[in-house]
Subunit: 325 residues, 2 copies
C-alpha cells in the first residue's frame, strides 16, 4: 500500500521510520508547506510541495497527516480527506466530536476513510479505557502521564520574556498511582496526580525570580500543579534534555460479582524513549487498517474504537490466531 506523509516535523519523522521499516507499505512521498528543496529527510523518499497533493493523490492510498492539533489538523484533515484516505493524531480531546463530524461529512462525500485521533493518548490509552470499562463497567478510570516531556508546556515557558529555552517534564505522583491501583476509587485532584518539572535557560541578566513566578502562576498550564523550576545552561539542556521521552499509565479499578463482591484492577502503561517515533509507529499501523477498511467499502470518519484490531497488524488473521491469541 502506498503511504504519504503530510507535514515533516518530529511526528513526520516518526511515521517515515515506521513506514520505511514495514514490509507491506511503501512511502511514496513527503509533502511539506516549506520549500521542498530546503527539507532534508531521513530516507530517500521524494519531497513535494504541499500543493502537489491534489495531483499526486491518485497514487496515494493513505496520507498520514502530521500537523498540530491547534491550527493545522482542524483544516488539513477535512481538506485532504477530499483526496484520499487519511489518518491523523488530533489530540484536543474536547474537540474530537466536532473534528470527527467535519471529517465524516467530507469523507462520506468523497468516498474516502478518515481515521482521526490516533496515537497513544488519544489512541492506545483510549482503547485501554474502553476495553477496561467494557470488562469492568462498575469502576473508575485514572490516567497518568509521564514521566515525559510536554512540548506544549515547554513552548509556553519559552514564550515568557527572558527565557531562551525550556523543557518541561510531566511527572505522575507515585502515591496517586498507588491510590488508583488500590481499588478504593479515590477522588484525585489535578495537583495530587501530577507535578511539573521545568528546566529553563534564561537570558543573561534576566530576573530569575520573575521568570519563575511567571511560570508557576501561569493559568491552565502550571497554576494548578506543584511546579518546580530549575535554571540550567543551554549546554546542560542540550546535553541532558533534548530527547522527547514520554509515557504513562491508564488504570481502571472496579468490581465484578452480583453484589460487587470482587475487586479487580486493569492497568496499561507505556514507557517511551521517543514520543513522536512511537506515535508515528502507531499511525503507520492505523494507515494499514484504514487502507484495508476502505478496500472493504467503508467510508467516513473513524477512530481506533472502530478498527477491528487484526487490521492493524501486518500478520494475517490466521497467523494472529495461531501465534498471538
Amino acid at each position: 500500500m502506498k503511504i504519504a506523509i503530510a507535514g515533516y516535523g518530529n511526528l513526520g519523522r516518526g511515521v517515515e521510520a515506521a513506514v520505511t521499516n514495514a514490509n507491506d507499505m511503501e512511502l511514496v512521498g513527503i509533502f511539506t508547506r516549506r520549500d521542498p528543496t530546503t527539507v532534508t529527510v531521513a530516507t530517500d523518499t521524494p519531497v513535494f510541495a504541499w500543493n502537489e497533493l491534489g495531483e499526486r493523490a491518485a497514487n496515494i492510498d493513505v496520507i498520514v497527516i502530521c500537523g498540530g492539533s491547534a491550527t493545522d489538523l482542524p483544516n488539513q484533515t477535512p481538506e485532504l480527506a477530499r483526496l484520499t484516505c487519511v489518518v491523523d493524531s488530533f489530540d484536543t480531546h474536547a474537540n474530537i466530536p466536532q473534528h470527527f463530524a467535519n471529517v465524516d461529512a467530507v469523507a462520506k462525500e468523497a468516498g474516502t476513510l478518515g481515521v482521526i485521533s490516533c496515537g497513544w493518548d488519544p489512541g492506545l490509552f483510549s482503547l485501554a479505557r474502553l476495553y477496561a470499562s467494557a470488562a469492568l463497567p462498575n469502576g473508575a478510570d485514572y490516567t497518568f502521564w509521564g514521566r515525559g516531556v510536554s512540548q506544549g508546556h515547554s513552548d509556553a515557558i519559552r514564550r515568557i520574556p527572558g527565557v531562551v529555552d525550556a523543557r518541561q517534564y510531566t511527572v505522575p505522583v507515585e502515591a496517586a498511582v498507588e491510590a488508583a491501583r488500590s481499588g478504593n476509587n479515590p477522588e484525585l485532584t489535578t495537583r495530587e496526580k501530577h507535578t511539573r518539572e521545568c528546566f529553563v535557560v534564561a537570558e543573561e541578566g534576566a530576573d530569575l525570580a520573575v521568570i519563575e513566578q511567571a511560570i508557576v502562576t501561569m493559568p491552565n498550564y502550571f497554576a494548578d500543579y506543584d511546579t518546580t523550576v530549575t535554571f540550567i545552561s543551554q549546554e546542560e539542556l542540550d546535553a541532558n534534555h533534548k530527547g522527547l521521552p514520554h509515557g504513562g499509565t491508564v488504570i481502571r479499578s472496579g468490581h465484578t460479582g452480583l453484589n460487587d463482591e470482587f475487586a479487580d484492577t486493569v492497568e496499561f502503561s507505556l514507557t517511551l524513549d521517543s514520543n513522536p517515533y512511537f506515535t508515528g509507529s502507531v499511525l503507520a499501523s492505523v494507515a494499514r487498517a484504514a487502507h484495508r477498511m476502505h478496500a472493504n467499502g467503508e467510508v467516513g470518519a473513524r477512530t481506533m474504537f472502530d478498527i477491528p484490531p487484526a487490521l492493524l497488524s501486518p500478520l494475517s488473521a490466521e497467523e494472529l490466531r495461531a501465534h498471538l491469541m
Copy 2:
C-alpha cells in the same frame, strides 16, 4: 438483547452476574446438563435442561457457553452455533485454529456468528499482544501469569493418591518481569518465568514425601518449574485458599526509529479477585458485540481480534468519542 448461559459452574455464575448487572441485556435462561430442578442459581433466571436449547433458541440472541476447553467446548460451540449466535472462552491455545475452523463452518451454514476464545488469556491479553506488536513490530513479547490459582494444576494434584484437596498458585518471578521490562529482550526459560506453590491436604497417614515427589516430578504440570509443596489442613485450605484470584502481565519491549534508536515498553496487567467473575464480565461484553455484529450481517467465526472495540461497550459511539477517547 436476550442472552442465555449454557453450563453453570464458576464461569456461568460470572456471566450471570455480569449480564444481570448490564442494563442493555436480559438473561433469559440458564441451561444445564444436570437435572434443572437440582440447580440453584444466584438470580431469578429460569433454569432449563440442556436439550431444551433447540426449542428455545429462537428467543435467544446470544448463548454464552461456559463449558470447559478440554472436552466440552470443542463439541458444544459448533453444536450451539447451529442454533443462534454464541460466545465461548476456549483456551487451549494450540487448538484455536482448528476450533475456529469448526465453528466457522457451522456458523456460516447456519447464518450465525460465533466468537471464540474470549476472556483475558486468550482475550484481553491476546489484544495487548496484538496492539503492542502492531505499534512495536520490532520487539519481543512476554506473558506472565499470576499470582493466581490455576484450576488445572490444582485438579492435577487432587488426582494423586492420598491427596484430599489442593490449591496451586502460579507465581511470576519478579526478576524475570523486570528483565522483560528492561528492553534487553532476554531469553527466559519456563523455570525462570514462573514458580508454582502448592497447598495440599493429605489423607491421614499418607506418605507426604511420596505425594510431594509425585507433584514436583509431574511432567508438563510441574517438572519444568521450581515447585514448592506445603501440606496444610482442610480447615486452613478452606479458610485461606478458597478464592480464585488471578491476573498477570503482558509486556512487549521493542524499538522504534529508522535504525532502532529508541527503546519502548508496552505493558498490560490484570489483578483479579475472581478469575471466573472477571472472565464472565468480558464474555458478557463480547456477547453484546456479537449481537451487534450479527445484526450488521456478519456470520461465521470471530475472535476478539475481529471486534471493533466500540461494539463491546454499552455506550454509544458518540459517548465513547466524547468521554473515553
